[in-house]
Amino acid sequence: MSAVAMARDVKSKLSKNLMRMKFMQRGLDSETKKQLEEEEKKIISKEHWFLDLPELKEKESFIIEERSFLPCEDLLYGRMSFKGFNPEVEKLMIQMNSRYKTEEIEEEDNAMEADVSDEEMARRYETLVGTIGKKFLKKRDRRALQGTDEAQNSNHGPSKAKKMFLKPQD
């Protein structure tokens, strides 16, 4: 009994620095391991510097600072031309100042849509179906299709004679 107790005392008397060494940690039980780790952490955190200040209360600000008058007053574009002095600038004026005249924009949009009417679009696509469809046909099918077309279009006999080698006349 007493010998065992003695051994424990000896063990605990080993210096902490020695216990921290890698080869000593194999034999340690979990409790002493934890203790050692905590101590180590304490030492590390003590070495860290920190400012002894009250915590900063960062209030979220809902105010945006804006240094320009432009978004405040809805100012127009700075280049102007009147009565056709500079047609380029007059075009620009309409373009740049259009956000204040939404009605005008809508009208323009309608005009743009009128460029290609729905009917025209449909007609265009109708013919497109055929052309694009051709692309996906095999060569043989295509020929067959052409053949039937021709048969329908021209009923004046077989227009396409089978090509063959013609022996030249001596």
Partner: protein, 265 residues
């Protein structure tokens, strides 16, 4: 003194404010309970913008310029005084002559130095603005823009703050000039106050509309107070310039008289 006591911002809309005035905002904790309850839902609707002449202060907005306090509602309509603290824009409408570069402003600059890769432009601010030779439409390292000292350039600030040299460009984000670049050789440049420029650039400006009926002419307005005018003859150019210069403190009637008289002669 009215300036000493902080008052609600919406009460002072349309009144004269002085530097140092503090404007309180409705969503402040000092206000009554009803407003307090509304406060959490307020900011979601729209953030408050404090425009030129105002700064974020401890309790609300701090005035840094003297002038009239203006307010515009969040949806764009002018809701003077009815602002509920849920967004909108406050700013000070001041009458100053000294231009301070602001990012995004379109200004007229005068080329003073041609130094290698950059041009230096006098824009009327405390420091000259720099303009890269590549910041023109279609400019490349080989294809330099033809800019001479003394040319007028209409451009936009992309860098403008109190610590750095302002920088200008003559193209927008998609690389197009959109009317920026060198302004034509002739024409007439003069300077007016910054307040007048904003008055002229307002969407429904009667002065511009009246002048537009007279005869063909072209106008470039820089936010730095510079105006460039060009008409078919020198006389017509000078008439437009004189009207624009004089109209700042004229009533609508006086202006109409002046326009009529000048267009006759």
């Amino acid at each position: 003194m009215a300036a000493a006591a902080p008052r609600l911002a919406e009460e002072r809309v349309g009144q004269v404010v002085l530097p140092g005035d503090v404007l309180l905002l409705p969503s402040q904790p000092e206000e009554d309970g009803e407003r307090l309850r509304l406060a959490p839902s307020g900011p979601q609707k729209g953030r408050l913008v404090c425009g030129p002449g105002l700064r974020r202060g401890g309790e609300g907005l701090l005035v840094t310029k003297c002038g009239l306090l203006r307010y515009r509602g969040p949806a764009g309509q002018a809701g003077g005084g009815t602002g509920s603290g849920s967004g909108g824009t406050y700013w000070v409408d001041s009458q100053q002559k000294r231009y301070v570069p602001v990012k995004g402003d379109h200004v007229i600059g005068i080329v003073t130095v041609k130094a290698g890769d950059i041009f230096k432009l006098d824009v009327g601010g405390s420091e000259q603005a720099s303009l890269s030779y590549l910041a023109f439409e279609g400019a490349t390292k080989r294809n330099r823009p033809n800019v001479q000292v003394g040319d007028l350039i209409y451009g936009q600030f992309i860098v403008a703050n109190k610590d750095m040299e302002p920088e200008m460009v003559c193209i927008d984000s998609s690389g197009r000039a959109n009317g920026m670049g060198i302004i034509g050789q002739d024409g007439f440049l003069f300077k007016v106050s910054l307040g007048l420029i904003r008055k002229l650039l307002a969407p429904a400006c009667e002065i511009i509309q009246d002048l537009g009926q007279l005869y063909p002419f072209e106008l470039v307005l820089g936010m730095n107070g510079r105006i460039w005018v060009k008409a078919k003859t020198i006389q017509q150019t000078l008439i437009v310039a004189n009207i624009l210069e004089a109209c700042e403190h004229m009533t609508a009637e006086q202006r109409k008289h002046a326009v009529a008289r000048l267009s006759e002669s």
